[in-house]
C-alpha cells in the first residue's frame, strides 16, 4: 500500500517529494534534501504568517514562525547541509494551518513542513521525542507505548457481541483508548444503536508518524488498519479524534468514507432525542477538524441542539491552536502549554464548559489550567441523553 500524502489527495499546490528523475533534472544529481520547490518558492516572504503563527507568538524568534520555517527549508534546498540546528524550527510547528488559511500567495506551509520533516528523517535528523514517538507506535501500535489491551475500556461480554461485519466502524484512536476511556465508552454507547463495530486490533491511525516525517513507518501501521476495515466490510469510518479524522480522510486510500463524530451526530440529531440543558458553553475548533477539513457547522449544530453556544474570540478559520498537534506537545511541552494558555484567553465570560471535538485538544487545554472545565462533545451529548 502506498501512503497517500495529504498534498496528493487534496491536489492543489501541495508540497511533494519529486521523483528521482525530477531531482536529477533540477540539479544534475540526486540531493540529500528535496521537497517540491514550487511550493517553497511561492512564498514571497511577506510575513502575513508571522502575524498569526501561534508558536511564534510564544517563542518570539523568527525561526519559530512560518516564514522562518520556509526560509530554512529554502536554505536546505539551496544546498545548506541539513543538521540538527534546524530542528527547533522545523519540529516546533503544530501544523495548525492558520498560516495556510491566511497566506495570500496560497502556500500550504504545513504540507511543506511535513515534507521537510520526512526528508530530515531520511537524512537521520530527528529529535529524541520524535524517535520516542516512533518507537511507541511501531512497537506497541499506539502513540503512548502502552502495552495494555487497547479495547480495555469495553467489557468482555460487550466485546464478544461486537458484529464481525458492519457498515460502520468506530475508529477509537490512541487517546480515547488509553487516556480517555470514558469518552470511548460514551461514544460507543451513542454509536452502538446504529450498528457500529470496532476493529479487533486497531492500531494508531499513523497521524503522529505522518506529521513528524516517518512516512515509511506510517505505511505499515496504516496497512494493518486498512486490512481490518476491509475485512469488516464497512463503508463508513466514524472517529471522534481530529487527528485520526484528518489522517483517515486525507492519507488513507480514497475508498474510505470517513466521517467525524460531530458530523455523524449532527446527521442523526432526531434519532438521538437529546434533551435541552440549561447550560452555556463555548466551542474550540480543533485545527485538524476545522481549518484542515472545514468542519465548522456540524459541532455547532449539535451543541445548539442541546444548549446555548457562546463563541470564543477567534473561531473557525481564525481559531487559534491548542498547541497539541504536530508532535509539539511531546517535543516542546512548554511551547505547547504556552499556546494552550493563550487559547484559553479567547474563552468568553459566563460559560459552563469549553467543548471541543478532539481528545488531544481536551488534554492540552486541561493541562493549561483555567477555571472552566474542558469537555469533549460526546460528554455534552451524553449529558443530554442521560438527563
Amino acid at each position: 500500500m502506498k501512503v497517500v500524502k495529504n498534498e496528493e489527495k487534496r491536489n492543489i499546490g501541495r508540497a511533494k517529494e519529486p521523483h528521482k528523475s525530477e531531482i536529477s533534472e533540477m540539479k544534475g544529481k540526486e540531493q540529500l534534501f528535496e521537497v517540491d520547490r514550487r511550493s517553497v518558492y511561492k512564498c514571497v516572504q511577506c510575513g502575513t504568517c508571522r502575524s498569526v503563527c501561534p508558536v511564534f507568538n510564544v517563542v518570539g524568534w523568527e525561526s519559530a514562525n512560518t516564514r522562518g520555517r520556509m526560509l530554512i527549508i529554502k536554505s536546505l534546498l539551496e544546498g545548506r547541509p541539513p543538521s540538527e540546528d534546524v530542528l527547533p524550527s522545523l519540529a516546533s510547528c503544530t501544523t495548525c494551518g492558520i498560516c495556510a488559511a491566511k497566506c495570500p500567495a496560497g502556500v500550504n506551509p504545513p504540507d511543506v513542513v511535513e515534507a521537510a520533516r520526512a526528508q530530515l528523517v531520511k537524512c537521520g535528523i530527528t529529535t529524541e521525542s520524535q524517535e520516542k514517538l516512533r518507537t511507541s507506535v511501531i512497537t506497541s501500535g499506539n502513540s503512548f507505548g502502552e502495552t495494555k489491551d487497547r479495547l480495555g475500556w469495553i467489557s468482555k461480554p460487550e466485546r464478544s457481541k461486537l458484529p464481525e461485519k458492519s457498515d460502520y466502524v468506530y475508529f477509537v484512536g490512541c487517546f480515547d483508548s488509553y487516556r480517555y476511556p470514558e469518552f470511548a465508552k460514551k461514544t460507543f454507547q451513542v454509536l452502538q444503536r446504529f450498528g457500529v463495530t470496532l476493529l479487533p486490533d486497531e492500531q494508531c491511525c499513523a497521524s503522529p508518524l505522518l506529521r513528524t516525517g516517518f512516512r515509511e513507518d506510517a505505511e505499515k501501521v496504516m496497512k494493518r488498519n486498512l486490512e481490518q476495515i476491509r475485512k469488516v466490510g464497512a463503508h463508513t469510518i466514524i472517529t471522534s479524534c481530529a487527528g485520526c479524522y484528518t489522517t483517515l480522510k486525507n492519507n488513507y486510500p480514497e475508498e474510505l468514507h470517513v466521517i467525524s463524530l460531530p458530523e455523524f451526530l449532527a446527521e442523526h440529531l432526531e434519532e438521538l432525542r437529546l434533551k435541552r440543558l440549561d447550560l452555556t458553553v463555548t466551542y474550540h475548533d480543533p485545527c485538524h477538524l476545522g481549518r484542515h477539513n472545514k468542519i465548522y457547522e456540524a459541532p455547532r449544530k449539535v451543541i445548539q441542539a442541546i444548549c446555548t453556544l457562546k463563541e470564543m474570540k477567534n473561531i473557525k478559520e481564525d481559531s487559534r491552536c491548542c498547541g497539541g498537534g504536530g508532535g509539539v506537545r511531546i517535543g516542546y511541552p512548554d511551547i505547547s502549554l504556552g499556546l494552550a494558555r493563550s487559547r484559553l484567553e479567547d474563552v468568553p465570560e459566563g460559560v459552563d464548559y469549553i467543548v471541543t471535538s478532539c481528545p488531544l485538544c481536551v488534554r492540552n487545554l486541561r493541562d493549561a489550567g483555567g477555571d472552566i472545565e474542558v469537555i469533549d462533545i460526546v460528554e455534552l451529548v451524553a449529558m443530554a441523553i442521560e438527563s
Binding site: 514550487r38 511561492k42 502575524s51 524568534w61 526560509l71 530554512i72 495570500p104 496560497g106
Partner: protein, 456 residues
C-alpha cells in the same frame, strides 16, 4: 573581545548565533540578502544603548529590524554584524488622549495599535498593506504610508517625539508632546525615513486622529488604466479629496477574484476605488460628486452597498501583491520596482509607460496602487526557477525606475530605498545626496548603523 559573551551579558537568552536563526534574519520581503553574525532581541532603550555602544567600540554593523516586512532590504544586514530585533519592544506606554497622542515602543504592530485605540474613538491613520504585521518602528524608519495617505498624509505627519539611540549609545529625544516647536532643527523629521542609518528609535509619541463616523466606497471601471488615471486627475482638480484612491488593473482584478470569488468587483476594465469618509452627509455628498465627475469616462460606476462589501474589498486589496500565485502557481511576485511614484498629473503617462515596459520584456504585470498620490505598485511576476525571466525582470525594473525619475517622480514612494534602490539615489537627488552623506558622517562617523543602505 568575545562579542557573543558581551552581548549575552546585556540580553541573556535573547541572543542567538544559531545558523538557522541567522538565516531567518538574512532577508525581508525583498530580494536583498545579507547574513548577520548575531541576533539580539532587546527589551529596553537601555539594552539597545549598551548594544550599540558595544558595536561602536568594536566597529560592528548594527541593523534594526521590526517584523521584516520591508520591500527594499532595509532591515537586511548586508554587511553582517548585529541585527536588533525590535519586535519584542511592543508595548503601548501611554494613551494620552487629552493631548491626542499615544506613546509606544517601536515593536508594536500597526493593526494592534489601532485595535487598542478604537475604544477611545481614535486611530493612527498611516495604513500600509502590511498593517497586520508591520511595526510602527519600521513605519517610522521608512516613512510608510498606505492607502489613506492621500487624505491623511504619511507617518511623517504623525510623529511628535522620538527617543533615539545614537551611534555611540547616547539616548536623545527629538521632540516633545507639543503640537509645534520653533526651537532648532527638526531632528524628528530627520530620523523619520532615515532607515536606521542615523539612530535606533526606541520610543515614539504619535499624534492620533478621530475615527471618521462613516466611510463610503465608489467602485468605477474604465476601458484602460490610462483613462482611469485621467479620471483621478479630474476628480482632484474638481476639489474632491477622497480618503483613499486606488487603482486595480484587470490582471489585479483577476487575481483578487481568484483569491475571493465572492468579491463584488466589476468584471471588465481597470478599476478605481474611491473611498470617502466623514459624517453620513459629507461622505454621501463626496461620493455623489465623484460619481458625477467620473461617469463620463467610466464603463461602470457604483457605490458599495454595505460595510461588509467594502471591508471585503479592502481586505483583499491589502493582500493583492502577494496573491498572484493563485492565478498561475508557477509564477511568484517579485518585489522589485514596485514603488515608483510621479506627480499626479503624470499618472496616465506612467501607467502607459509601465504597460509598454511590461510588454517590451514580455513579463506579465499587475498594476495597482495609491493612484491618488501618484504611487504605482507595479507587480511583475516570474517563474523563479527560470534564469531568463530573472534577467528580463531586472532589465525591466531598471527602466521603470529611470522612467519614474524622468517623469519628475521618485523610485520609492513609501517602501524605502534600503539596498534594493540605493543605486538610483544619485540619479534622483544629484548633489543633495552629498548633503545626506555629510549628515550621516556627523551622526555616525564610524558608519556602523545599517551600512550599505540609502546609497550613502
Amino acid at each position: 573581545m568575545d562579542i557573543t559573551a558581551e552581548l549575552r551579558k546585556i540580553v541573556g537568552v535573547r541572543l542567538s548565533v544559531s545558523p538557522s536563526e541567522l538565516y531567518c534574519y538574512s532577508s525581508d520581503a525583498s530580494q536583498v540578502k545579507g547574513m548577520p553574525d548575531y541576533i539580539v532581541r532587546p527589551k529596553s532603550a537601555d539594552e539597545v544603548s549598551r548594544i550599540v555602544k558595544l558595536a561602536y567600540e568594536n566597529n560592528i554593523p548594527v541593523t534594526a529590524r521590526g517584523a521584516g516586512t520591508g520591500l527594499a532590504g532595509g532591515a537586511v544586514p548586508v554587511r553582517g554584524g548585529i541585527v536588533l530585533d525590535m519586535s519584542g519592544m511592543n508595548r503601548i506606554l501611554e494613551f494620552d488622549i487629552d493631548n491626542i497622542q499615544v506613546v509606544v515602543e517601536p515593536g508594536i504592530v500597526q493593526d494592534s495599535l489601532n485595535e487598542a485605540l478604537k475604544p477611545y474613538g481614535f486611530f493612527f491613520p498611516p495604513n500600509p498593506g502590511s498593517s497586520a504585521m508591520c511595526t510602527i518602528g519600521g513605519m517610522i524608519a521608512y516613512n510608510a504610508s498606505g492607502m489613506r495617505c492621500v487624505k491623511y498624509g504619511t507617518t511623517r505627519n504623525y510623529v511628535r517625539d522620538l527617543e533615539v539611540v545614537l551611534a555611540d549609545g547616547t539616548i536623545i529625544h527629538t521632540g516633545s508632546k507639543m503640537l509645534k516647536s520653533a526651537a532648532g532643527y527638526d531632528l524628528t523629521q530627520l530620523i523619520i525615513g532615515s532607515e536606521g542609518t542615523l539612530g535606533i528609535v526606541t520610543k515614539a509619541s504619535l499624534k492620533v486622529a478621530p475615527l471618521p463616523k462613516t466611510r463610503k466606497l465608489v467602485i468605477a471601471s474604465f476601458e484602460n488604466a490610462e483613462i482611469a488615471g485621467k479620471a483621478v486627475v479630474k476628480t482632484f482638480s474638481n476639489g474632491i479629496i477622497p480618503s483613499a484612491c486606488e487603482i486595480l488593473d484587470r490582471v489585479s482584478l483577476q487575481v483578487l477574484k481568484r483569491y475571493d470569488p465572492e468579491l463584488v468587483l466589476p468584471s471588465e476594465g481597470d478599476v478605481l476605488l474611491f473611498e470617502v469618509d466623514g459624517t453620513e452627509n459629507s461622505a454621501r455628498e463626496a461620493a455623489e460628486q465623484i460619481m458625477e465627475v467620473c461617469s463620463p469616462l467610466a464603463l461602470s460606476i457604483k457605490l458599495a452597498e454595505s460595510q461588509k462589501e467594502m471591508a471585503d474589498i479592502w481586505a483583499a486589496r491589502k493582500l493583492v501583491g502577494a496573491a498572484v500565485s493563485r492565478l498561475d502557481p508557477s509564477k511568484t511576485r517579485i518585489y522589485v520596482g514596485e514603488d515608483v511614484g510621479v506627480p499626479i498629473k503624470r499618472i496616465p503617462e506612467l501607467l502607459r509607460r509601465a504597460q509598454e515596459i511590461s510588454e517590451q520584456f514580455n513579463l506579465p504585470a499587475m498594476k495597482y496602487g495609491h493612484i491618488g498620490d501618484g504611487n504605482l505598485h507595479l507587480a511583475l511576476f516570474i517563474d523563479v526557477l527560470n534564469k531568463d525571466e530573472w534577467d528580463r525582470l531586472n532589465r525591466a525594473v531598471d527602466l521603470i525606475h529611470r522612467t519614474a525619475i524622468e517623469l519628475g517622480g521618485t523610485v520609492s514612494s513609501e517602501h524605502g530605498i534600503g539596498a534594493a534602490r540605493a543605486k538610483y539615489m544619485e540619479a534622483q537627488w544629484g548633489p543633495a545626496l552629498e548633503v545626506m552623506r555629510a549628515i550621516k558622517k556627523v551622526l555616525d562617523p564610524k558608519g556602523i548603523l545599517n551600512p550599505g543602505k540609502l546609497g550613502l
